[in-house]
């Protein structure tokens, strides 16, 4: 799951997966609110999950936990 999310975000940013820190905030990764909206849609499509965004959900680790808790 985590690798998959990192791969999607790395592709979006045009970076290598090794450059993406899972505990860095989305803002620190250079993603603004519209980037996040776009990425969430892509993740929902690719992983078949539903994500309700909120301010707490601000890095990859938290997003992984959120998706896994959905079961």
């Amino acid at each position: 799951m985590k690798e998959k999310l990192i791969a999607i975000i790395a592709e979006y940013l045009g970076k290598d997966a090794s450059e993406i820190e899972a505990d860095a905030t989305f803002e620190d990764l250079g993603l603004d609110s519209l980037d996040i909206a776009e990425l969430v849609m892509q993740i929902e499509d690719e992983l078949g999950v539903t994500i309700e965004l909120n301010a707490e959900l601000n890095n990859i680790d938290k997003l992984v936990e959120y998706i896994e808790n959905q079961g």
Binding site: D32, L34, A37, E38
Partner: protein, 321 residues
């Protein structure tokens, strides 16, 4: 019978409002607006201008390119969120200003930002039914500066005023097709009505635009690829068969996201959002006119127009230019 576009025209207000101008009364910055929306400036109507003056100029430009005299027009569809008057409708005034026949078939329609494409669909139906056999006008005229909430930095910076028009001519065997969706959602994007006159009604609202930007953004991005994909599939076409895609100009980020999602060359997506912002149903006919006049569309080219907006509604229109 089908149709082809014979002429295009557009008209813009003279007053330009830059992002810098907005910082004089809003807590915003040129940088924020440019990076989040792509917009650097927009046009707004001043006292001497109206939707009638803009729409009349746009139609005259289109009639001139089409080498058509006003008496030849059998149908005029005018798309607007709100005309200069609640009544009479804008088309009556435009028909008079252009000198159209008093037997012309006329209507105003309000399909928000999708108005121009729905207007083409109406015209298509009239040509197909044989009710009209020669020429029609579809004109979009929008004054978003009248509806924006100029105290809300998250919405007002997006909008501007403009008018765009096309003259259509009956043409056999020209490909024209549509794919569309509507839903009755007034929560995500709406313009409320002004306070009522009725003594029996206490509604005292202000007629301004409200929007949930994130939700509209998501709707826009998913609608564009879905509508374009559907209209291509119905006609056995691939993106490579399309010379240009004219997307509703709401935010450059929406356009870029659609390009990324569709995997099509960015050069196929003309844009003018930088200079004009979102002018609702007028964005696509204005962009089409600018592109045609710059030689960016050739006769016989297949093009797709695609819009999304209040309703929520979305529509794609496939045309052979």
């Amino acid at each position: 019978m089908s149709f082809r576009i014979l002429g295009t025209g557009s008209a813009l207000p003279v007053t330009t409002v830059s992002n810098e101008d907005l910082t004089k009364f809003l807590d915003t910055s040129d940088e924020w607006i440019r990076t989040r929306t792509g917009i650097t400036e927009r046009r707004v109507m001043n006292d001497g201008e109206s939707l009638l003056t803009l729409a009349t100029s746009a139609c005259k430009n289109a009639l001139e390119m089409a080498n058509t005299s006003p008496e030849e027009i059998e149908l005029i569809v005018c798309t607007t969120l709100a005309g200069d008057y609640t009544s009479p409708a804008l088309y009556c005034l435009i028909a008079k200003a252009l000198g159209l026949s008093d037997r012309v078939i006329t209507m105003d329609t309000n399909m928000g930002c999708c108005g121009f494409e729905y207007g083409l669909q109406i015209a298509h139906t009239y040509f197909a039914s044989g009710m009209i056999t020669k020429k029609a006008i579809v004109v979009s005229a929008e004054g978003l500066s009248r509806h924006a909430d100029w105290s809300d930095r998250a919405t007002c910076c997006l909008f501007g005023d403009a008018s765009g028009a096309v003259v259509l001519e009956a043409a056999p065997d020209r490909k024209v097709d549509f794919d569309w969706t509507v839903s009755g959602n007034a929560d995500i994007l709406n313009i409320t009505r002004h306070a009522d006159n009725s003594p029996w009604n206490t509604y005292d609202g202000k007629g301004v635009l409200h929007m949930n930007g994130q939700e509209v953004f998501k709707f826009a991005v998913s609608s564009i690829s879905a509508r374009i994909g559907a209209v291509l599939e119905k006609n056995g076409l691939a993106p490579d068969d399309i010379a240009k895609f004219f997307l509703h100009q709401a935010n450059i980020r929406i356009i870029n996201s659609a390009i990324h999602k569709m995997g099509v060359a960015p050069e196929k997506f003309p844009h003018n959002i930088e200079r004009l912002g979102n002018t609702s149903s007028a964005t696509i006919p204005v962009l089409l006119d600018e592109t045609v006049r710059a030689g960016g569309v050739q006769r016989g080219d297949k093009i797709i127009l695609c819009a999304f907006g209040a309703g929520l509604a979305s529509i794609a229109c496939l045309l052979e230019f």
